[in-house]
Each structure stands twice: as structure tokens, then as C-alpha cells.
């Protein structure tokens, strides 16, 4: 998995509560039995005036030239709620987003981010609004800086805020670890647990 330590990039604001994974990637945009080929369908319902012909809506934030190449998304409360589809994170990552900053995340989405090397950082809503305002004049040159080891986001005007992330998630991201490979190193422990548990809860084993 791609490691995440520090990152500096263009931030794009999409600050609405309850942005759901159907909005991030509609079901009709998940066209291949694959984790890729999804960036084109990212926010399809909002990004395109005509989805079929891919006519861009010039008002949508990601279609505005000043936010071109955005790699940090500023979101609202309960970001990523709804369907568990990991395609939402695959689409965001493929589009180029390395980090999502929001006051809160839906739990499945947050976990999907970590498993794909995307930072989901919980930040105070007031700071996110402040960041959006501080970059609004020239997003292309007023870049946002994220330092995961220090758990700090720094706005271009110098103001900074620390964010929450649990230790395990932080280490996975910073070291770019493959969770399955890590757990497979504990296979003996898992097998021993299963053997003991089979005696206690035989009905759990088929």
C-alpha cells in the first residue's frame, strides 16, 4: 500500500453534511470487476450536467480550473455515509485525492480510506471552514500541508490544527502496511484461538 507521511497540495471544498457514497460514485458508474477505472465516475451526479455524454457542470467545484489537480478534499459532517462500497475510495484515490479532511466520517468509509492509503483526518468544522476561506482567492498557489506523523494540518496563512486518528490507522498509513500480510504473521495465534474456541462454541464452526 502507498505510504502517507506528509503531503502538500491543492485543497477543494465540498463542505456539505452527509455526503454519501452513492454521490461519490453512483452504482451505475461501477462498470468493471476491478478496483480501477472509477475516477471518471467520481461524483458523476454532480460533476456532469449530462452523465451519459459527460458534459461537465462548470459550477461543480472539481470542474473549476482554480481547483484543478486537487489532492485534498474538504468535507462536512458524516462524510462517506451510506453504502459500504470501497469503490468510493478507489474512485477518490484514482482521481488524485490523497487526503479527506472532515469533522466526522462514516465508520466503513473511514476504514476503507486507511486500507487504501488515503488519509481520512477528523478536524474541527470551524478550522475546515477557515481553510476553505483562506485558500479561496488562489487555491493553486495557497497549498495545504499535512503532516501525519505530527498529526497536524497547516493552512497557507500559517494557522494549524491537530487532527485525530487512531494509532493503528496512523501506523498503517505512515508505513504503507498491507493489513492482510501483517495479520498473516499472526496465523499461529489465530489457529490456536480457533482450536480452543471450537470446544467452547462448536456451533460457530461449519
Amino acid at each position: 500500500m502507498r505510504a502517507f507521511t506528509t503531503h502538500q497540495g491543492v485543497a477543494a471544498p465540498l463542505i456539505r453534511p452527509n455526503i454519501d457514497t452513492d454521490a461519490i460514485i453512483p452504482s451505475r458508474e461501477m462498470k468493471g470487476v476491478s478496483k480501477s477505472g472509477l475516477a471518471d465516475g467520481l461524483f458523476a451526479g454532480w460533476r456532469y450536467l449530462n452523465e451519459r455524454e459527460r458534459i461537465l457542470d462548470p459550477d461543480f467545484v472539481l470542474n473549476q480550473p482554480v481547483y484543478a489537480g486537487a489532492s485534498i478534499l474538504l468535507g462536512g459532517e458524516n462524510f462517506g455515509c451510506g453504502s459500504s462500497r470501497e469503490h468510493a475510495v478507489w474512485a477518490l484515490a484514482e482521481y488524485g485525492f490523497r487526503a479527506i479532511l472532515a469533522p466526522s466520517f462514516a465508520p466503513i468509509f473511514e476504514n476503507n480510506c486507511i486500507r487504501n492509503g488515503v488519509l481520512a483526518a477528523r478536524l474541527d468544522a470551524g478550522f475546515i471552514d477557515h481553510v476553505a476561506k483562506s485558500i479561496a482567492n488562489d487555491p493553486q498557489t495557497t497549498l495545504l500541508s499535512i503532516d501525519l506523523p505530527a498529526q497536524v494540518v497547516k493552512a497557507p496563512d500559517g494557522t494549524a490544527a491537530s487532527f485525530e486518528i487512531n494509532m493503528e490507522a496512523k501506523e498503517m498509513l505512515v508505513r504503507g502496511l498491507d493489513a492482510i500480510a501483517l495479520t498473516l504473521t499472526m496465523s499461529d495465534q489465530i489457529a490456536a484461538f480457533r482450536d480452543r474456541d471450537r470446544g467452547l462454541r462448536p456451533w460457530a464452526y461449519l
Binding site: P17, K31, V33, G76, C81, P107, I108, M186, I190
Partner: protein, 471 residues
């Protein structure tokens, strides 16, 4: 004496293989469900990494997310490239040795309908599925939660997941639901009261006389919508009703093994004095049939009421988001909800497609007709529910009323089967999400109980089912 434990504490302790950093732990996973939207991706990814499935007998796969639900269906679906997902999942599931409930199998259906039917979910188990509505199965006292595809891969390969222990929240519902008010209305009432972030990351244990009074199928409807509260999951302590539902199911223990299991399951409840991170209490008697008026399940109110003013919801919504919701739904504050004319009515989904849901809707539809111009569709949650309904003649009631009668699957809850409702059509739906464009591009969804959907289909506008039930 040991400190009092919550139901979550007990299940967690029984599955704790090893603590990891901070609140994280390596937790044993007892059951894994897959479906054709992500099953093939997960299994193929494991195969290419050379990682076998640890315990294929504990993994199950169904076809529900993409399959067509029109009568006489096969692998073909209106969804572009949909068939590739079906055939790839079938091949991958068979190769991995997981139990597959394929198209044409009498056991096929929506995961959270067939898992209990088959006795795959049992009290005290950990169960995961790459589907957010896995919380449904918490109705059996299992710790069941939705995950992404990567976590499904992880559990398949290792038999375990790395999870931060969620906090516990208790929702006590006292009293009894009034006649004509159902588990779905309770779920929507809780959405409006607690908000879409109200259960953030927690396991919500539902308790109280109203919960004990719910049928097992009603409990599933309630737990189904825990995920809409941003909860980790929902759970209800198992009781005699739970055991009676599961006894004799194909994958449930039998004979002496059943007795031993039940003895263990009777210990699965929150101890007196157990501490919860948060607790809320409600009175079931105050709840009326509910419908949503906006684009989040928290945008819910009594069907007898009006579209609220911003001030009434300002504590959990921004002005911008409220205005956007009203614009999208084409409604205005103060408009009686029962004035809203509908274009379509949908009964189905993992929330409300079980036999009791169909019986209650059919009781309202019997001898009546859907209003002219309203497209009405009923999609049983499983092939078994469909057969049971047909054996009782419910299919005739739906068809005679003007409903389409479908094969089992997720269907038009979203884009399953490649079908959607039309642009800006107003749909009353027994499903779980009224998100923008969820049921079709620009479609306007109003969530409700199956009987409210049935009553609305007849009236041609949102309607209180109690009026029809009484007549």
C-alpha cells in the same frame, strides 16, 4: 464479582484473539457474506496474491446487488456490464469453495433476508459483509457489521479482522407501538430524533418493552437502519423469539448441539449496571407512521404532518443543506406531506421485504387498486419469501391491485438490475436511503413502511395507512 458487561463487551471478549495498538484488536470473524458486486473483486484479489480462503465453510455468497428481478430472469441484466459481475462472482465463489446461493437456487435472495432464513447468522457470532446494511443481522444478537472489500478479503484470508473496539450506546424504547405503527416507523422516528450522525461509530443496543414486543422480522428492520445513524452496528439481545425463529434452520446447530448453543445464548445480554457511552430513551406510544421529506433518512416526520421549517431542524442541518434538500425534493415548508402526489411506489429491500412486510401490505391492498398513473412494484426479499407469499395467494393481491410482482433481489432500492425510476419522479419506498439520485438520476424518494407505501400507492399521494386499515 466481575464488572457488569454490555452485550458488546461479552461478544468482543469471546472473539478477542489479541490486542493490537490502542483500542484496536484482532477479532475472530465467524461468518463472511459476499455478493456479486464485490465478491469477485475480493476473491480474485486474494487469488492473485496467492492467499487461500482460510475457512470456506464459514463463507457464503449470494446474488442480489446486480441481478435482474424481472420475471423469467437469467444472468442477463439491464445493468451495463452487470452480467460480468455475476459470472465472475459465480466462478470465483465456486473455485474458493464458499457456499453459493446462485440464481435459480431456491435459497437465493438478499443477504440480510436469507442469512437468517438459512440460520447462517446466530446469536453471539461475529459476521461481516461488504454491505452497510449488515447491521440488520444484529437483530439476532450477533455482532454483524458492514465492511469494505479489503476487509472482506482480510477476513477471508485470515479468519480475523483488525478492528478498534466500538463504543456502546443504548436506545431504550418503552411502551408499545400503536396499531398501524411498525418497526420502520420507529427506525425513522429514531433517525429524526438522533440524526444521521447520532450513532457515530457505536454499537447501538436496542432495548425496552417496545423492542421485546417486536417480531424478529421487525427487529431486523430496526437494526437495518442503524447504519443510517452512522453506527458501527445495531444489536438486540437474543430471547425466546430469536431462538424460535432460528430453530431447525439449515445452518443452525441441531439436536444436543442446539441445546448447548441456546444455553450459551441465554447469557448474551447487557448486565444490570453495565456502562454505555451514551443512552437515549423513547416512548413508543408517541410514534406515528413516518415518511421522509428530504434527502437524508434523518429528514423524517409523521405522515400526518408538514414539511418542517428550517428552524425545526436547524440543530442538525445547515441552512444550505436544508435548502438544497427542499429544492431537490421540490417541496416547500408547511406543505402537508399527504398533499404530495407520487409517481411510483416500491416495496422491497433488506429493510422491508420479508413475509410479514408483504402480508401487512397485502392486507391494505386487498380489494383495492393502485391510483391511475402510479407505477407500483413489489420485490420479495428472497426466493423463499416469494414462494411463501405465492402459497398464501399474496402475489394475486399485489397483481390484482396493479403491482408488478418480481423475483428476489435488491432491485430498485438503488440501481440493482440496472433499473431506475425516472428523472424527478416522486417515489414512496419501503427502502432505507432517500439520498439524491439513489433510486435513479434526480429521483425523489420518500422512505416509509410497507403499509404506508401500499396506502400511498392507492391514494396516489403520501397517505396514512391507518385510515385504510380501519375501513
Amino acid at each position: 464479582m466481575a464488572a457488569p458487561q454490555t452485550l458488546l463487551d461479552k461478544i468482543w471478549a469471546q472473539h478477542l484473539i489479541a490486542p493490537l495498538q490502542g483500542p484496536d484488536a484482532l477479532i475472530l470473524i465467524d461468518r463472511i457474506w459476499l455478493h456479486e458486486r464485490t465478491g469477485a473483486v475480493a476473491l480474485q484479489s486474494l487469488k492473485s496474491a496467492g492467499r487461500p480462503v482460510l475457512a470456506p465453510a464459514q463463507a457464503f455468497c449470494t446474488m442480489d446487488h446486480i441481478v435482474d428481478t424481472r420475471p423469467g430472469r437469467g444472468d442477463a441484466t439491464l445493468m451495463p456490464t452487470g452480467q460480468a459481475f455475476i459470472t465472475a462472482t459465480r466462478e470465483a465463489a465456486l473455485a474458493a469453495g464458499v457456499t453459493l446461493f446462485d440464481l435459480g437456487d431456491p435459497r437465493q435472495g438478499i443477504t440480510h433476508v436469507i442469512s437468517p432464513e438459512q440460520g447462517v447468522v446466530l446469536p453471539g457470532l461475529t459476521l461481516i459483509c461488504p454491505d452497510s446494511h449488515t447491521s440488520t443481522q444484529g437483530a439476532f444478537g450477533a455482532l454483524a457489521w458492514g465492511v469494505g472489500s479489503s476487509e472482506a478479503e482480510h477476513a477471508l484470508a485470515t479468519g480475523a479482522l483488525r478492528v478498534a473496539k466500538p463504543k456502546a450506546m443504548r436506545v431504550t424504547v418503552n411502551g408499545d407501538l400503536s396499531p398501524g405503527v411498525t418497526a420502520k416507523d420507529l427506525a425513522l422516528h429514531l433517525m429524526a430524533a438522533l440524526s444521521s450522525g447520532g450513532g457515530a461509530g457505536r454499537v447501538i443496543e436496542y432495548d425496552g418493552s417496545a423492542i421485546k414486543g417486536l417480531s424478529v422480522e421487525g427487529r431486523m428492520t430496526l437494526c437495518n437502519m442503524a447504519t443510517e445513524l452512522a453506527a458501527f452496528s445495531g444489536i438486540i439481545a437474543p430471547d425466546e423469539a430469536t431462538f424460535a425463529y432460528l430453530k431447525g434452520r439449515p445452518f443452525a446447530p441441531q439436536g444436543a448441539a442446539w441445546d448447548a448453543a441456546v444455553e450459551h445464548w441465554r447469557t448474551l445480554f447487557s448486565d444490570e449496571g453495565a456502562t454505555f457511552d451514551a443512552a437515549f430513551t423513547f416512548n413508543a406510544g408517541e410514534i406515528a407512521p413516518m415518511v421522509t421529506w428530504g434527502v437524508s433518512p434523518q429528514h423524517a416526520g409523521p405522515v400526518t404532518g408538514v414539511v418542517p421549517e428550517f428552524e425545526a431542524v436547524a440543530h442538525r442541518d445547515s441552512r444550505d443543506s436544508y435548502d438544497r434538500a427542499l429544492r431537490y425534493m421540490d417541496v416547500e415548508p408547511g406543505t402537508p406531506l399527504s398533499d404530495l402526489r407520487i409517481d411510483a411506489a416500491f416495496i422491497g429491500s433488506c429493510t422491508n421485504s420479508r413475509i410479514s412486510d408483504l402480508r401487512r401490505s397485502a392486507a391494505i391492498l386487498k380489494g383495492r387498486r393502485v391510483a391511475p398513473g402510479v407505477r407500483a412494484i413489489c420485490v420479495p426479499g428472497s426466493s423463499a419469501v416469494k414462494r411463501a407469499a405465492e402459497a398464501e395467494g399474496l402475489d394475486r393481491v399485489f397483481l390484482d391491485a396493479g403491482f408488478e410482482w418480481r423475483e428476489a433481489g435488491c432491485s430498485m432500492c438503488f440501481f440493482a438490475g440496472g433499473e431506475s425510476f425516472g428523472r424527478q419522479e416522486r417515489v414512496v419506498s419501503s427502502t432505507n436511503r432517500n439520498f439524491e439520485s439513489r433510486q435513479g438520476p434526480q429521483t425523489r424518494t420518500h422512505l416509509a413502511s410497507p403499509e404506508t407505501v401500499a396506502a400511498s400507492a392507492i391514494a396516489g399521494r403520501l397517505a396514512d395507512p391507518r385510515a385504510l386499515a380501519a375501513s
